[in-house]
Structure formats: structure tokens, C-alpha cells
């Protein structure tokens, strides 16, 4: 049986050369996202803005949107936002906080119910008071901030500090762009969207960790290779997996968008965007950050540890193709000549001038 392959084999794409483009590009996108958030704002659902949502299904099978819109004026409830969705029978009414506190909210629901009861079934009623919505905003924001901090701490213990910073910057980037996505699409932002954002954070970190894991492995294996080339090599190595996984998750999400119903649609749409962004940022934001942060300079400062690691990392010999890989890659790039990676780790002295030469200006 011929198996399907989406990713080309043995790619040698010089990802790191794009860092001079990807960084300004991402910076601009992030700024646009912030600007959108400030100037355009988000379509906050009643979880955050407070207010009432009533979902109706017309008994006649046809919801009269215009009549429903008129309710706001007739009942003196301010603006009623009427949205038809899915089929012709369903409509949602949404109106803001009523002056007069929690009691007035309940009275408003009563009025609407009384006005539509004969022609519509009330399928869902949600009322969130002003104080509750404030608390939801606070606990939601707290959740995002604390989970990022916790993940930062975990990565810092598990990897080198550069990895933790790279991962967190990539995650913040994804977070900003997701906020921008919600702002530009005006998808409703509610507690489920918080779940979406946290999932995107999780997916983004998962992507980043997979790439970083390979970088760490190769960092120990190919001591002499320039950092940029070593990073490129690592990304190319995990590229088939990245494409495969993104496609799979995407398939599941598309199923959610199409069949999952109204309530989780905005969740799923945000996730789809999040997967694009997370995949991009793990390659183009997090990985170059390691170069900027001078990933390998530290090795010089701790020779004993490095030796132990080097020995541990080369228990299984890596031969043939990988040497050719390094050599051919240097040709492709046409950069400074790169020493071919040796089968056994080079003595530390050999690595020293290399890494100090690459030290980034402070």
C-alpha cells in the first residue's frame, strides 16, 4: 500500500535566515493586535460584560427577527441585539445590563418572556449580573497569567533558561495574536473562549517543547555546528511531525466547527487560528530567540557538566547521513564554512573559539 506523505523528506530549509524578516513581521502583527484590542475592542459575551441572553425557537418554525428587534423599544429595555443562526426558527436576543441592579435584570427577562411566550419556546436563558461578570474577568485573567508563569518555571527547571524565555515569548506572541483574532472577527469572547486561549497556550507550548527537545538533543550531539545551522537542522528533522500533527488536530477542529453546534463554534475557530500561530511561533519566534540569547555561550562556562552531557549524548553513534546533512547544508546556505560534525564529540577546546566568536553583543 502506498502511504500518504504530506511533508517532503529530508528538507533543508534555512529557517533561521528568516529571523530578520520574521521578527519585524511578528512585532508588527503583535502591535496591530494590541491596537485592535485597544481601539476596536472585543465582543465580550455576557460572562464578561454582564447582561442577558435569551435563545428562542419559533413555534411556527420561522423567527421574525424584525419583530424581536422591536421588543427593545416596546419593553423599554434599551438595545436588543437579535441574532438569527443556524436555521430559520432560532434566534438569540441579547441585551445589556439594566439600570437598577440584579433585580432589574430578572424583571427584564420576565418582560421578554411574557411578550414572546405565545409564539416562541424559550430554550436558554442566561443572566449575569455586573459583580459576577467582574469576578469572571478577574479569575479568567488570573488563570492565564498564572498558567504561563507556572509553565515558565517548569521549562526553566527542565531546560536551559534560554529555552524558557524563548518559549514564553513565543507563547505571549500567540496569546496577543489570538486576542487580535477575537478582536478582528468580533467572535464572542466568553468563559469558553478563555478555555480556547488556554488550550492555544498549551498547544503552543507543546509545539515549542517538541522543537526545543530536538534542539537540546542536537546541541549536545553537534558541538561544532554553528547554532543557527544546528537549530535549522533540528527544525527540519521534526518538520514532518509538525505538519502531520497540525493537520490531524486541524481535522478534529474542523469537525467541531461544522458539527459541534453554536456554543463551541467560536472556541473551535479560535483554536484553528491558534494552531497556525503556534506552529509558526515555535519555528520563527522561539527558535531564533535561542540564537539571540546566545544559547551556547554558557557551555564554555561549565566544562565539567558539558563533558558529562557530551558523553551521555553520544552513547548511540550517529553516523553517515547526518554528517552529509551538515556538509550539504553549509553548501546550500553559502555561509561561512562549517566544520563537519565529527563522529565522536570534539574536545572542548575546539568548541571554545567558535562559541566565543558567536557571542552576541550585550
Amino acid at each position: 500500500m502506498k502511504l500518504l506523505r504530506l511533508a517532503p523528506e529530508n528538507t533543508k530549509f534555512p529557517f533561521m535566515r528568516f529571523r530578520r524578516v520574521s521578527y519585524p513581521f511578528s512585532a508588527v502583527l503583535s502591535l496591530v493586535a494590541v491596537a485592535l484590542f485597544i481601539f476596536k475592542g472585543m465582543n465580550f459575551g455576557i460572562d464578561f460584560a454582564g447582561g442577558t441572553v435569551i435563545e428562542l425557537r419559533a413555534k411556527s418554525g420561522f423567527a421574525e427577527v424584525a419583530t424581536l428587534r422591536g421588543l427593545g423599544e416596546n419593553l423599554k429595555l434599551g438595545d436588543i441585539e437579535v441574532q438569527a443562526f443556524g436555521n430559520q426558527a432560532d434566534a438569540t436576543l441579547r441585551f445589556g445590563l439594566q439600570p437598577g441592579g440584579d433585580k432589574a435584570q430578572q424583571e427584564a427577562v420576565e418582560k421578554v418572556r411574557g411578550a414572546v411566550e405565545t409564539q416562541y419556546d424559550v430554550r436558554r436563558v442566561e443572566v449575569v449580573g455586573p459583580r459576577v461578570s467582574n469576578e469572571l474577568v478577574q479569575s479568567g485573567t488570573l488563570g492565564v497569567v498564572i498558567s504561563i508563569l507556572a509553565v515558565l518555571t517548569y521549562l526553566w527547571f527542565r531546560f536551559e533558561w534560554q529555552f524558557a524565555i524563548g518559549a514564553v515569548i513565543a507563547t505571549m506572541h500567540d496569546l496577543l495574536l489570538t486576542v487580535g483574532f477575537f478582536s478582528i472577527t468580533q467572535l464572542e469572547f466568553n468563559t469558553t473562549s478563555i478555555a480556547a486561549i488556554l488550550t492555544i497556550v498549551g498547544y503552543s507550548l507543546n509545539e515549542t517543547v517538541v522543537v526545543l527537545d530536538r534542539i537540546r538533543e542536537n546541541m549536545r550531539k553537534y558541538k561544532k555546528l554553528a547554532t543557527a545551522q544546528m537549530v535549522d537542522m533540528s527544525i527540519n528533522a521534526v518538520l514532518p511531525r509538525t505538519i502531520m500533527t497540525a493537520t490531524t488536530v486541524m481535522l478534529a477542529l474542523i469537525a467541531l466547527v461544522v458539527f459541534g453546534g453554536q456554543v463551541i463554534r467560536s472556541f473551535s475557530l479560535a483554536m484553528i487560528w491558534g494552531i497556525f500561530v503556534a506552529t509558526y511561533s515555535s519555528i520563527f519566534i522561539c527558535s531564533p530567540m535561542l540564537i539571540y540569547l546566545g544559547l551556547r555561550n554558557e557551555d564554555v562556562a561549565r566544562p565539567a557538566e558539558e563533558k558529562a552531557e557530551a558523553e551521555a549524548g553520544t552513547e548511540i553513534e550517529y553516523h553517515g547521513s547526518s554528517d552529509a546533512y551538515a556538509a550539504s547544508m553549509s553548501d546550500d546556505i553559502g555561509d561561512t564554512p562549517v566544520p563537519v560534525a565529527p563522529k565522536r564529540p570534539a574536545p572542548k577546546a575546539a568548541a571554545k573559539p567558535k562559541s566565543s566568536a558567536r557571542r552576541r553583543p550585550k
Partner: protein, 529 residues
Amino acid sequence: MLRFSTWKFLAIVAMTLAAVLVTVPSMLSPSTYEALAARLPSWLMPPTIVLGLDLQGGSHVMLEVDQSDLLSTQIKNLRDDVRRILREEKVAITGGIGATARGVQLRVPDAADREKILPRLRQLRNSFSANVGGQSPLDVDATPEGLVRITVTDTGLRDKSRKAVEQSIEVIRRRVDALGTREPSIQRQGDDRVLVQVPGLQDPQTLKDILGQTAKLEFRLVAEPGQNPAEVEELEQVDEQGKLPIEKQIMVQGEDLTDAQPGFDQQRSGEPVVNFRFNIRGAQKFGDVTSKNVGRLFAIVLDNKVISAPRILTPITGGSGQISGRFTVEQANNLAILLRAGALPAKLNIVEERTVGPGLGQDSIDAGKRAAFVGAGLVVFYMLITYGVFGVFANLALFVHIAFIFAGLVLLGSTLTLPGIAGIVLTIGMAVDSNVLIYERIREENHAGRSILASLDAGFNRAFATIVDSNVTMGVAALILYFLGSGPVRGFAVSLGLGILTTIVTAVTMTRMMIAVWYHYARPTKLPI
């Protein structure tokens, strides 16, 4: 790679079987489940998955103690206490007992009188509330000019509100139980809130109606013309236009009721009424009042509204009576429930309400199921055409993975919500990612010139570290979501967390086992991926 101890093999098979067995009842239709449960012993029949209100329909209502109502009740009680002390100590004051924003004040011109009553007023603290962490619930201070002020402190009010919540929970439970719904959940939230969740409720309006009322029942005489205006207040009538002048003095209170039942008026119209019975104290008081006031109007006041004001024709000494007020059958029923359950200690406001009708709930279940089946189907198909026989292994592992998550939900008694379903679909993606990581690594090692066996071994070993790292990172996020989130977010976190835990067993160990068995029998000369 090839060595797989027998006990490990058996352990995995046993776990899989157990998970499937635990999950099966939840997949059955309710009627089949009932039929089976009737025949099988209870320990053989695991509970079904608990569906969230968003899935099966129901009401979620958050109530909050009305602070201003609570405060005015406290001020009223304080005033009664002060009056009693003044009477007992025979102290004269100029003017009455005035109310301030947070308490009462009075003018005691005589210094000796002040010395007499101040210690007693300070003692009120103890009866007002038990020791509240060193903070006084009441402030009592007096100026040299003779102004005495008693103020309820923030601590005092908070303590009262906490107690009001505790008492309310009992009253609410009695009221909701009387509705005859199944498995309502009533929990306190923080200092001043109660969360009531009633799954599968057909008529959420009734729930709100009976929760929104304090149900403070009082029997008071209707004032006659020329009575002292200080003793009379105007109260609204429930059914008729205009207000009625009612004496402020409460003759008999609802707390003296022992029973209340809906019924029909036997003598006259046959309209729905509520029959009630008093305890001995109440019966005595009721008998006294009705004997002394034959011919006058006697008002039945509920939450400061006059329900009806019938004329006392003869003394009622039997200790039972009837409330009529042009009720519908349902109203009479609700009133009886409220009276039986007792009054709430303070007014409760609805600050959050989420009601999903049963129709929408069913639609959501259907949508969730459809999405899950299509999503899983797409993933399974995609794995199959990409990895062939290894894809079959991954898919089998995926199936067990899903069974594990459902079994976990059943065993934890955790509630499955719509975001929870989203979480499961996402975990499917994560589990597949683990297999993809392993398979791609195996390919890579194989292309690098290793033997099949060495590639398999290296693939699993090397991908494992990555899988652990990425899953722990996700796990950290799920954990924090669980502790900081509420409602839908929490449901999502539970599914995600369970999924992450089982990924290691299914996607790594199970797949490895299947590949080992396959290798043993197939003896491949070329890797099939």
C-alpha cells in the same frame, strides 16, 4: 523493545477491559440501563456519566444575600433589643430610637442612666454574633452630650451574611426538594452566595419563583380609622388595587406554623386555598387575637404584601386556618411549599442565571456526539492512510484512550460539559501527536541507516522524553485551569487532564506492545512506514 513481560501485557489488557466495562452503561439508552440495572447486582452496574446542565438541560441559579435587606433586619432587631434594655433598666430617653445608616442612635440625657445601660448595650455584641476573630460585630459609643450610637461593623455584617447563607441553604433545600426534581445541588459560594443547580428541570420559572421569595408570613390586623399613625403602615395588596393600612404590630408569625397544604375551599367557591396549622404557641396567640377582634379585618401578609384580609367572623381557636387569595392551583401549591420550608433569614437576589431548556440540551448532546464521531473518524482515517499497519495500532490505542477518559469521568463522578467534549476532541489530537512523534522518529532513525529493530527501539526511547515534556507542560496548564477556573473551564480542564494522564499508557506503552507483538510474528524485512 521486543521483551514485554507477561504481567505488563496482562495489566494493560485488564485495564482496557475494565475501562470498556465501566464505559458501556453510559453508552446505553436510559431505558436499557434501567432494565439492566434492575437485573444485575448494583456493584456490577457502574453509574453513568454525569452530564452537565448545558448538555441535559436544567437551571443554574446563583443567589446573593441582599446586604441592605440584611442590614435593615439587623437594625430592626437592634432597636427591639435596645427598647427592651431601656424598659428593664427603667431609663428615660429624649425622642425615640433613631436609625442611622448602619445602626441605631438614642439620646440619654442623664449621665447616671448612661452608666447603667452602656455595659448592657455592650453585652449585645455577644448575643449579636459569636466571637468573630477578635473583631467586634457592634460598635457602641457615647458622646458626653448623651448621644449613644450603636453601629453594626463590617465584620458583624459579614458574619450575619455568612450565617444567613447557612440558614438559607437549609430552607432552599426544603423548597427545592418539594418541587420533586432529581439530584439538585445546593452549595455555598464564598461569604454571601448560594449556588443552586437543578438538572433536567422542565420549568425553570417555578424554581426562580420559589427561590426569589423570602416567604416571611405575618398575621396583622387591618387598622381602623383614627388609629395612631405611628403604629400603622400602608402595605400593597397582591390582588387588588391600592394599599391597605395595616397595624405594625405582628400578631402571629409564620415560624409558628407547623404545616401548610394546598387545598380547595369547601364552603364557598371551591377555589384553591392553602390550609395551615399552628403549633401550640401559635394556636394560642391566634385564638387570643381572633377572640378579641371579632368583626375586624385580619390581614395575611407575605413579604410585606397583603395576600388577603378576611373579616374575623368567629374566634378561631382550633389552631388551623385557611389562606385564600384568588390563587391558581399552582400558586396555592407554591405558597404551601414556601410556608412549609420556612422563611429565608434575608432576601436573596438572583445574580446569575443559566437555564438551558431540555430541547436545547438534547440538541447539544447530539451536536457533541456528531462532532466527536466525525472528528475521531477523520483522525482515524488519516492515521490509517499515513501509517498503514502502524496506523491501525495507533487507532486501537486511540480507542482505548477514549475509553479511559470516559471511564475516568465515570469513576471521578465528574460532570461532562460541552467544553469537556471539546477537551476530549483536543486530547485525541494530543494522543495522536504522541504516536506521530514516535513514528516519525522511527522513520528518521531508519533513514539514517539503522536496522528495523534498532529504529523501533530508538524511535520509542527518544520520542518518549519529548512526549513526557510536552504532556507535562499541557498538564501544568490543565491543573491550573482546574483550580482557577469554574464551570465550563473546569469541565474542560478535567477532560484534558485525564487525557494527558492516559496518553502515556495508551499512545506509548500500548502501541509499543502491539508493535512488539507484530514484529514477533511478522518478522518484517522492511519498515512499513
